[in-house]
Symmetry: C2
Subunit: 359 residues, 2 copies
């Protein structure tokens, strides 16, 4: 087991990474006050992992609250219902929520913890690769609004994160591959050595080899922590984590969040950001080939959805919440492992990039 | 104009107190970024004060969003609608919300600011005495849940508070008197000298004499700030601000929040807390008479609602969110101006207090 420490201005907490941690008896006991523990999960995930997790929560006997699977659970309506169930269960400020699931469960549970009676403790137990390397660490929580994803939320740090790569054995292959896009993202942003490692080991990750998974997940979490702890509320460097996301969110919005997975959209977004950086003369074209090859080996999309015009995509990018004072800001690369925020990219280069990847 | 400084761990901001501040041209300009300013208010309040407030916001031209009057606006449904309107208006992280109204508007706007895109700046411009001396300062924001008041919220400090006692001229007399209950509360908790002042000047406050109002509001805000800035998230001393509130909330809950005003319920709660403290031998009975007399001069209730049994009241007090690990904690007094948290009051004394004030 590796223990990373998240050191945020508002709090400090451990990120435990290692196989079979869910079953490690009493692992989370030091983090639980004497109060009630409530696990929030889906029917499917809890069937697979709740029995194991009870070991880590021992000697506490958790209650279980179920929410439906899928993005539609990230809603104020679901929050309202969860709060009602917590109130009926008499949950108070000394009690702890545990999010057992992917990004949807983690974001919803985290935001519920942030605002239930103005703040409860919560623990993240992510069960998808995407949630393990991204959503569960850093304290971003949110639900969606009909007019935009993650528009209602809070920065609220968990008191502990438990990452057990063993749970990925039950993850659908498509979700695993989508999660790899976020892993590749960290390498591109700030970790050239990790990028080279991924080029050598990506098949091992796809085959769920424990050693490779442990390494990649820990390295990703470490990168995420190093970025977020200097900038908890995303006023500066944290924005670099949005590499590929302005493109990706626009694709997801165009599809009404019912088409590609988030990681698939982000994966293509990475390629577009690298392409634009090359087009602007910031990067050698050779890197574009390396990124494309990595995406191909992970069987991630390398073309825009067939029904999405470049005009529509460009328009959707402008409504992204990352824009500041009306100008679209993009994360671009000036070298492998060296991302930066750019406001003055040539519009013509952006359009050419979009056209180049149009179906 | 007096300027108090709120020094919280998470931020520092000024509380401006003085007559006609709404019309002071450019007063708030240093607090506004270059972005959009959105005033959230009710139709009635904005008709009375928006024109004035535009002076303080000058040279910004604010947009106005209206929400219905009344406690029912403190809901997730209203939050959802506000967020929609802000998204349609293209409001982003550099923009500022301004709450122009009483506690309902302030709590709703503050919580919207706390969670819209994970956090916007906001300014409080309270227009009731209750909001001026209590709700607008300290960063507590919330909406209600069907099962409990203020159950969904956040600690989110405003970037400035503008308190103009002049606006109280349009406040209904009943609301003014209810606000006085919170003023008396500060004196009881920690300011014996202020209590003596109130005994001399309460009629001047009821007559809206400017000098007395300015003094009482500033003194109340100062007391609130001194308590909250040492304990932003209510882990300790801030709980003393709940003097009278365990009783008061139970009364409000029994009436479905459709009977007494919050301040009226709190006013009686103060009397009950003092009575219990006397019964337990902590306080001389003489203080009970002084508090009762002050409430009488402010024409505040001194008997429980006629349809509320002591059994029901006691039961409702147990579901209050201030209880910790299952035990009801009450704020009691061991002297005038010296409140403390008490878990081990005799249940029989509490029951006698409740019976004594039963209708």
């Amino acid at each position: 087991m590796k223990i990373l420490r998240a050191e945020h201005a508002s709090s400090t907490y451990p990120v435990y990474v290692g196989a079979d941690l869910l079953r490690r008896r009493g692992l989370l006991e030091p983090h639980l006050k004497h109060g009630t523990v409530v696990v929030v999960s889906s029917a499917e995930i809890s069937k697979l992992y709740l029995a194991d997790l009870k070991q880590a929560l021992w000697p506490q006997q958790p209650r279980l609250l179920l929410v439906p699977d899928g993005e539609s659970s990230k809603s104020l309506a679901q929050l309202d219902q969860l709060v009602g169930e917590l109130l009926r269960a008499g949950v108070g400020r000394d009690d702890t929520l545990v999010a057992l699931g992917g990004g949807v469960i983690g974001d919803l549970t985290g935001f519920t913890a942030a605002c239930y009676q103005r703040g409860l403790d919560y623990i993240q137990v992510p069960t998808t690769l995407l949630a393990q390397v991204d959503a569960s660490v850093g304290g971003k929580t949110a639900v969606n609004h009909a007019l935009g994803k993650n528009m209602i939320g809070a920065f609220h740090q968990p008191i502990a994160v438990l990452v057990d790569p063993g749970v990925l054995r039950s993850l659908p292959s498509r979700a695993l591959r989508a999660g790899l896009a976020e892993v590749i993202k960290y390498a591109l942003i700030r970790d050239a050595e990790f990028f080279a490692w991924l080029e050598e080991h990506i098949e091992e990750l796809l085959e769920l080899r424990a050693e490779a998974l442990d390494f990649a997940i820990e390295r990703s979490c470490r990168n995420k922590l190093e970025i977020t702890q200097g900038d908890e509320r995303e006023t500066g460097v944290r924005a670099l984590l949005n590499l590929g996301h302005s493109f990706g969110h626009a694709i997801e919005t165009a599809q009404g969040y019912a088409g590609w997975l988030h990681g698939e959209a982000v994966g293509l977004g990475l390629l577009l950001a690298v392409d634009l950086s090359c087009r602007m003369g910031l990067l050698p074209a050779e890197l574009l080939g390396r990124v494309e090859s990595l995406l191909q080996r992970a069987a991630l999309p390398r073309r825009l959805p067939s029904d999405l015009t470049t005009e529509r995509l460009r328009e959707l990018m402008s409504t992204d919440k990352k824009k500041r004072a009306g100008r679209l800001r993009l994360v671009l690369l000036r070298a492998l492992g060296d991302a930066f925020l750019c406001e003055d990219f040539p519009e013509s280069d952006l359009r050419e990039t979009l056209r180049h990847y149009a179906f």
